[in-house]
């Protein structure tokens, strides 16, 4: 039901003043239309000011019916239901979409062809849908899409009409162009519509720009193709080895763009323990590295915020954003973030690096300023023009792994004290410390959380006893038997106990009964006691044993030997570097391994056999 202009004005009295109508730039109109528009506007203004239509018609010498028609046209609703108003005063302006009312022209009843094409599409929604699908597939470059042109599109339209048994004596077959021009215009409009960027379906991160320090933390890792060198002393011969790629995991505060910490992962892939190591470093007081590379030094004042101690070492973040890599999905990581830290873990949507722009920018800076300036560190692609040439690959790189680490540390800390325009000319570090001190950020209780918490885990394991073996009761943990005096209780056999362990060193565990009684320390066999090793290394060794790749009585040394036998390969060389640090081998220690000894428990550090490998003084790399 159409509401009359008088009722509309009664409901909305603002419309009585024509100055409240939508403005129109009359200089954009044609001269002929401009005259008509000004006259129409004047007539409408006079009627709305309170004069009767009769008086206005007499003054302007226009029939009253024309004035009523003009007012009805101005207050006619558009698609949204709002009155058209100003635009309707332009003479000859089409205010509504033209719709054909008369039947289509045919051989029997010829007529004009205006709006006939739209009439066909409105009456046959299937044809419209088919045409739209053709265009959307073409624009989206789908595998099954045709390469459309206006001509082929027109042919498709005629084909659809024939399939729908369209009468051959009806439009468009009565037209000489067969509706080609209408199709061509429709095709171009549809292509433009499909090519428009779509609005995002969901909000994936906050739209607020006034985040504060501690609100969001972004963590991401980047693989760096860093061809560097380590040296090992093999029978008094220093042998350099190439190590290929390392992974850098970086944590950044979103609001202040301050780098809070990093972890360098000397292995092919990041695992859950590397992520936990990063969390541990965030809550431990940062100390600068002892720089040994000549020419490198820290800028004055450059550091990570944890260098200042509390409260920066007990700051809780609200949301921790990571991507959906498998290492981030690990239960240990989820447990640590959600239960120990009390933060929200956001795993993000795949292939959306722009949801973590701060961290991606950080890697860009690192690559440009430092890592990719070193020779043989591009890794961009096999055909990259700045990739290391083949002639250089025969010799080990000039840059050592240690130098690369120092370089990364210096660049990241220096970036923290570099003023940034988006922070009002302040440095990220000063902004971060300022906001932490002046806003009520979430802090942990001093005694409720420590930097070691990410590594301390608990697990329930059953106590076993095999009478035929005549050995002490034991528990199985990570494929190895652990035993201790605390387990030698009859009441515990067959029951479960809780073992608490440090994932970085599982030579010993601490056992508790389910009631909470302390059962003391339980240890792995002596074959596993030689070097400090973690859960990841144990699992790697057991995997090799399972696949019969190595199976020596002394598993840790056997693993080392296996890596040395493959030392010229990139990955074993990298692994040597990693376990060297994990085993915590210090300079000057004489490590002799007797390969022929069956029982590794009898191996003495001073035994030197015929086939012994003699590792002395591993040079620091």
């Amino acid at each position: 039901m159409t509401v009359s202009w008088r009722d509309q004005v009664a409901v909305n009295p603002d419309l009585l003043d024509i100055d409240n109508w939508p403005p129109l730039d009359i200089s954009a109109l044609d001269k002929e239309k401009r005259y008509g528009y000004i006259k129409n506007r004047s007539i409408v203004a006079q009627v709305l000011s309170g004069r009767s239509i009769k008086d206005v018609s007499r003054i302007n010498n226009i029939p009253p019916g024309n004035i009523s028609r003009l007012l009805n046209r101005a207050f006619c609703p558009n698609e949204n239901g709002d009155p058209i108003l100003t635009r309707a005063l332009i003479p000859g302006e089409r205010i509504r979409k033209s719709i054909r009312v008369t039947p289509l022209p045919s051989a029997i009843a010829p007529s004009g062809e205006r709006c006939s094409f739209n009439y066909i599409l409105d009456q046959n929604p299937n044809i419209r849908r088919s045409l739209d699908e053709l265009v959307s597939d073409f624009v989206a470059r789908k595998r099954t899409a045709q390469n459309l042109t206006p001509k082929t599109f027109h042919s498709a339209f005629l084909h659809l009409l024939r399939e729908a048994d369209w009468p051959s004596d009806c439009y468009p077959f009565t037209s000489s162009s067969l509706a080609y021009e209408s199709l061509r215009k429709y095709f171009h409009e549809k292509c433009a519509e499909c090519a428009l960027p779509k609005l995002p379906k969901r909000t994936v991160s906050t739209l607020k720009s006034d985040l504060r320090a501690g609100e969001e933390l972004q963590i991401d890792e980047q693989l760096t193709d860093s061809e560097s060198t380590i040296y090992i002393d093999l029978n008094d011969d220093f042998v350099p080895l190439r190590v290929s790629r390392i992974q850098l995991i970086l944590a950044t505060d979103v609001a202040t763009q301050c780098y809070l910490g990093y972890h360098l992962c000397i292995s092919g892939n990041v695992n859950q323990f590397d992520i936990l190591s990063l969390f541990s470093s965030l809550y431990r007081k940062w100390q600068p590295m002892d720089l040994i590379t000549p020419g490198l030094k820290y800028s004055p004042g450059s550091c990570f915020p944890s260098h200042f101690g509390e409260p920066f070492t007990c700051l809780g973040h609200n949301i921790i954003r990571m991507d959906n890599a498998m290492s981030h999905l690990a239960h240990t990581v989820r447990h640590h973030v959600c239960h120990n830290l009390g933060s929200t873990l956001s795993l993000g949507i795949p292939a959306q690096p722009k949801t973590r722009p701060i961290i991606e920018e950080a890697f860009n800076i690192l690559n440009k300023r430092g890592v990719h300036r070193l020779p043989s560190t591009t890794g961009s692609s096999v055909a990259s023009p700045i990739r290391e040439p083949k002639k250089n690959t025969k010799k080990p790189p000039v840059v050592s792994l240690r130098s690369l680490e120092e370089c990364i540390s210096i660049i990241l800390t220096e970036r923290n004290i570099t003023p940034i325009a988006s922070l009002g000319g302040n440095s990220p570090l000063s902004t971060f410390t300022n906001q932490v001190e002046n806003t009520p950020v979430r802090l942990f209780h001093p005694y409720s959380y420590s930097a070691e918490d990410p590594f301390i885990h608990c697990k329930e394991v059953p106590v076993k006893f095999l009478p035929e073996e005549k050995r002490n009761p034991f528990v199985n943990f990570e494929h190895v038997r652990y035993s201790g005096n605390g387990l030698c209780e009859k009441s515990l056999i067959g029951k479960k106990v809780t073992v608490r362990y440090d994932t970085r060193d599982i030579r010993t565990l601490h056992a508790f009964s389910l009631d909470g009684d302390d059962l003391g320390t339980i240890s792995a066999p002596r074959t596993w006691q030689r070097f400090k090793h973690g859960v990841a290394t144990r699992r790697l060794i057991m995997k090799l044993n399972k696949n019969h790749i190595q199976n020596r009585p002394d598993p840790l040394t056997g693993y080392f030997i296996y890596l040395l036998e493959n030392k010229n390969k990139r990955r074993p060389a990298l692994e040597i570097a990693r376990i060297y640090r994990e085993f915590n081998i210090k300079n000057g220690i004489d490590l002799s391994i007797h390969e022929n000894q069956r029982n590794a428990e009898d191996v003495s550090e001073h035994d030197i056999g015929d086939n012994a490998w003699n590792f002395r003084k591993f040079r620091r790399f």
Binding site: R202, G316, L345
Partner: protein, 251 residues
């Protein structure tokens, strides 16, 4: 009215759901649905319990993991709006509990898991969060009827309305995280002291906490203040303002 509590006032969460008319009052409920919906029996049937999130969905969707007070287990929230909605639920003392991804409905051959189950002023609500409140029209009637059979109301809330309350939700997210971490500490005495202070001075400004020198006491006082806010015994203007040292807490 759904959002009105015993004293006649409309709570903040009540205002949010009142904007979205419960579908139980819609006329198409009188029509027979094409498919009937049933609740798939799980271990806790017929009580709501969080349905597990497949690893594939965990990797593909924008999932957030968070523990709250009214849902003390690790909750999986499949979008940013769902996370904010859960934080808004924590802000209203009239909400007793909630459970994310509470049931699995079977509608014909399809399986549908709603976003949240909320107990609000003794009403049991099943909440679905959608952009522009657009929900499948052929599922509305069967799900609503099935919910009513179990004494629940099915409501669709738009993501846009929840995102408008983002500042409030983020403040409450911080408050919940602080309270969960301070769960093991007894702060009854400190809460009484704060209430006495507010009655005496008319308000309590957060800056007073910053002036406490002892770290342990500062931490506990902060926790006590936020616990009172969570219980609804004091209020603060954190609807559109971030929590800061200038925030005033009043009765």
């Amino acid at each position: 009215m759904l959002g009105v509590n015993g004293s006649g006032a409309i709570s903040s969460y009540g205002q949010l759901i009142e904007r979205h008319t419960p579908l139980s009052s819609d006329s198409y409920l009188d029509r027979e649905p094409h498919d009937l919906a049933t609740i798939v029996k799980s271990s806790n049937y017929p009580y709501p319990s969080q349905q597990s999130t497949r690893i594939g969905l965990l990797k593909q969707a924008d999932v957030y993991l968070q523990k709250f007070i009214k849902y003390p287990h690790l909750g999986y929230y499949h979008s940013y709006a769902e996370l904010l909605h859960a934080a808004i639920l924590e802000s209203d003392p009239n909400v007793t509990k909630f459970v994310p991804q509470p049931f699995k409905f079977r509608i014909g051959k399809n399986v549908y898991i709603p976003d949240c189950y909320v107990v609000f002023l003794n009403h049991k609500l099943i909440i679905e969060l959608r952009p522009r409140s657009e929900f499948r029209s052929d599922w509305l009637s069967p799900v609503s009827k099935c919910a009513r059979k179990y004494g629940m109301e099915f409501i669709v809330i738009s993501n846009e309305d929840v995102l408008k309350m983002e500042v409030k939700a983020r403040n409450w997210l911080t408050i919940c995280q602080t309270l969960i971490h301070a769960n093991n500490f007894n702060t009854d005495q400190l809460e009484n002291e704060i209430l006495i202070d507010i009655h005496k001075n008319g308000n309590y400004i957060m800056r007073k906490i910053k002036d406490i020198e002892d770290e342990h006491e500062r931490y506990l006082t902060n926790a006590a203040l936020l616990k009172l806010l969570h219980k609804g015994e004091i209020t603060a203007n954190i609807e559109s303002n971030w929590l800061s040292y200038d925030t005033e807490f009043t009765v």
